[in-house]
Symmetry: C2
Subunit: 298 residues, 2 copies
């Protein structure tokens, strides 16, 4: 049997069960009053980067997607290291631009680039690891959502439409919600994850971990302007990657505080598992399907 | 200009200067009384693994080379995470074996596998990051060797001959010198690095950082039995990778304590830079060349 036969989700399950890892955005290592957070994302030329993206944008993106994982746990990132695989005919100037992108994104979030590795590979491969810290009383995990909780999302959704609209800056220069994550972690968030695989996929993952369902109201979704101009905003918001926003649940009584503290909107609520995962559109209930980008099969 | 025109060493210089990184085996993050050590090594199917190597051996190797970097600073490793890129036609059973190799090597050194990432790539690519800790008074860096110091190496040298002799177990199931690193760090080691690129390359790197030269006595080199049986022990010991031993310098008066504490041998001494980097063989002085495996050009 080969990987394509089982798909990314079952492969991840196989790995997490072998190592007894919690399925979450970061690993959290107990350090007394705090957790040391560690996360790694590997990005690969052929699957992650459109041909039009610049080297600077690729470097930025590789850092940003990792910072987003730290953000989703309420962590403050402080250090990263980077392993870069490149072909031997890679241009020095492109490497220089790539490093600038890495440096600028890290600097914007006060993260030190502390070390790394370079190897020869056939296609550009960037594996970044970010370290962060979060207080034990503040950490936000995927597990914890309860029926009756309000469902929130930061920023806007549907930014994956930037691929169709060929807006590389919007697509690649991702702004991870680090400050928002730290801020909302003060208000008793019950579960949180980032939207990297699309809203639908994230909802299904949260539903499974928490044994709950969701109701999402289409007219509350904060569609990004690029999603609206694409004419396909619901499809992009639900089923495409590209939004590195935080999706989280809170007890309904803190909703007002959340909205005052950060740019986040209530888009629905947590319901009983039996009610499923539904989108309410023009007064009608529609199933939110469990699809999004999946490695090895997509 | 492309990467092949400049080679790995100049690329690493370019990256370390851009990020103001110290050129060392690990990054060390100040945590009060201790340093948090972090290191990453990316290994790639086509450049790192002989066709005969098993998946189990590849997983083990990918962990071991990282632990060796922690060992060379005197650190105690405690956690790792792993990003794996694999083609979609990769066999599930091979992944399972690979994970076993990762798990077994980590477990032998009491290191927890805490998290990871999987992506689809064209060739197997494993990027592992290991965290460790070391007391501030114990850390061993590359810089610090002084003229008159004794030069030591742990274990045996020339194990890269295992490739020629087709001994995959010996080549791949590397035993990083974690306990030895912790032990020798008690005795005022002045500089240390691991031998991953071969003894000659490591000596040249230590010489440059410390502005010194070295004299190495061929009849003191602890050749591995596989190097001897290959008939080319000096070549393998000096100019091939495959020995993940610790190369270190200490004030000559602690030599006896070092030999009692760990399996390490004095192989030479630190001399003035002007005297160069020499091998003493049958009473004659020979230049130790600055060559070994270099990515992008080899």
């Amino acid at each position: 049997m080969i990987l394509r036969d089982v798909g990314e989700k079952r492969i991840v399950e196989m790995i997490t069960s072998k190592f007894s890892i919690l399925m979450d955005d970061c690993a959290a290592i107990d350090e007394g009053d705090e957790y040391l957070l560690i996360t790694t994302d590997m990005v690969y030329e052929k699957t992650h980067f459109p041909a039009e993206a610049t080297s600077y944008q690729k470097g930025w993106y590789a850092v940003a997607v990792n910072l987003s994982d730290i953000a989703s746990e309420g962590g403050k990132p402080f250090a990263l290291n980077v392993a870069i695989g490149m072909p031997r005919n890679y241009e020095i100037d492109m490497l220089d631009e790539l490093l600038d992108g890495i440096y600028d994104c890290a600097s914007l979030y006060n993260v030190d680039v502390v070390g790394g590795d370079t190897k020869e590979t056939d296609f550009l491969t960037i594996s970044i690891t970010v370290l962060g810290r979060v207080g034990k009383d503040r950490i936000m995990r995927r597990k914890g959502a309860k029926t009756g909780d309000a469902l929130f999302v930061t920023g806007t959704v549907g930014k994956g439409a930037a691929l169709k609209m060929n807006d590389m800056e919007k697509l690649m220069l991702v702004k991870p919600r680090v400050n928002e994550g730290i801020e909302i972690s003060k208000y008793g968030v019950t579960s949180c994850m980032d939207l990297s695989d699309g809203l639908a996929s994230s909802l299904h993952q949260l539903a499974e971990i928490n044994n709950v369902g969701f109701r999402v109201y289409a007219d509350l979704l904060p569609f990004d302007e690029i999603a609206i101009s694409s004419g396909d905003e619901t499809e992009y918001a639900l089923y495409h990657g590209g939004d590195f926003e935080l999706l989280f649940t809170v007890p309904p009584e803190v909703g007002k505080q959340i909205r005052r503290a950060v740019d986040a909107k209530r888009i629905g609520e947590v319901v009983e598992k039996e009610k499923g995962i539904k989108l309410i559109l023009n007064g009608e209930e529609m199933e939110i399907e469990n699809r999004g980008y999946e490695h090895f099969v997509s």
